[in-house]
């Protein structure tokens, strides 16, 4: 019962923040709302007993990605574009389509029977994740690290000032 009330509270707050991300005219406000959404998702991960992911969510999303977005916004004031409207011409069509999408998928999800089991999370879950990365999932792990390196080099190359 406590879990349900906690879930509803976190979910409602997170969805309101997500709405703020989408409707905020000021990009900086949108970025702050985005940080709130990331915190809400981390709280949901703790509710789902995925503590490692909650911490990774806070460190990677809030510590790296949100900071990157805030930096990019603050470094280029003209990027805000506040003189023109925040939405393009097809926003009402997009809104209707998304309401329809949400209704359809929610209806399907409520209808669909999932075979849930009520087993406990193993006590050494974080240890299993760690040994998974250097054991069974070592190739995807290395590919992901190469992807990050390539993205890093590519981002520097793209954003670099070209003084010919």
């Amino acid at each position: 019962m406590v879990g349900q009330i906690l879930f509803i509270f976190i979910a409602v707050v997170t969805l309101l923040m997500a709405l703020g991300v989408v409707v905020a005219r000021n990009l900086f406000h949108a970025a702050l709302f985005l940080i709130g959404v990331f915190f809400g998702i981390a709280a949901l991960f703790i509710l789902l007993e995925a503590e490692f992911l909650a911490m990774a969510q806070i460190i990677i999303y809030i510590g790296a990605i949100a900071t990157l977005i805030v930096f990019a916004i603050m470094l280029s004031k003209g990027m805000m574009g506040r003189e023109s409207g925040a939405y393009n011409k097809q926003w009402y069509f997009a809104g209707g389509a998304m309401v329809f999408f949400f209704g359809l998928v929610s209806w399907l999800l409520v209808k669909m029977p999932f075979k849930t089991i009520s087993a406990q999370v193993p006590n050494d879950a974080i240890q299993q994740i760690g040994s998974g990365f250097v054991g069974h999932y070592v190739v995807p792990f290395e590919v992901a690290s190469v992807l990050l390196l390539v993205a890093l080099v590519g981002a520097i190359m793209l954003a670099r000032e070209r003084n010919s």
Binding site: V22, L47, I60, G85, F114
Partner: protein
């Protein structure tokens, strides 16, 4: 464990829809990127919820979320670098003004 699985899935669907709406309707490219981040987070919630309720003893669900983190970080870095580069040459990042391929 009193929260039903479908609540998490409906929450993730709502978050995904909001993010998709942002991607489709915002003019500023940074706002579009924020919409993509919302969608990726919704997918993460789905993955963790399915892991917790269907296979809690097998940690591969959590490991997959870490790969989504990696891709999200790479996407944000490259996307913002592209925007800074485009802003430098075009003086705008409104994506309905950067449509040279259309005509």
């Amino acid at each position: 464990m009193t929260v039903p699985l479908s609540w998490y899935l409906i929450f993730a669907t709502a978050l995904f829809s909001l993010g998709f709406f942002g991607v489709l309707s915002r003019r500023n490219a940074v706002a579009v990127l924020m919409g993509v981040e919302l969608m990726l987070n919704a997918v993460n919630v789905n993955l963790v919820a399915f892991w917790r309720y269907l296979t809690p003893t097998d940690l591969s669900g959590q490991i997959f979320v870490v790969f989504v983190f990696t891709v999200a970080a790479a996407e944000a870095a490259v996307g913002l670098a592209l925007m800074i580069s485009i802003y430098r040459t075009r003086k705008t990042i409104n994506i309905d003004e950067i449509n040279d391929l259309q005509h």
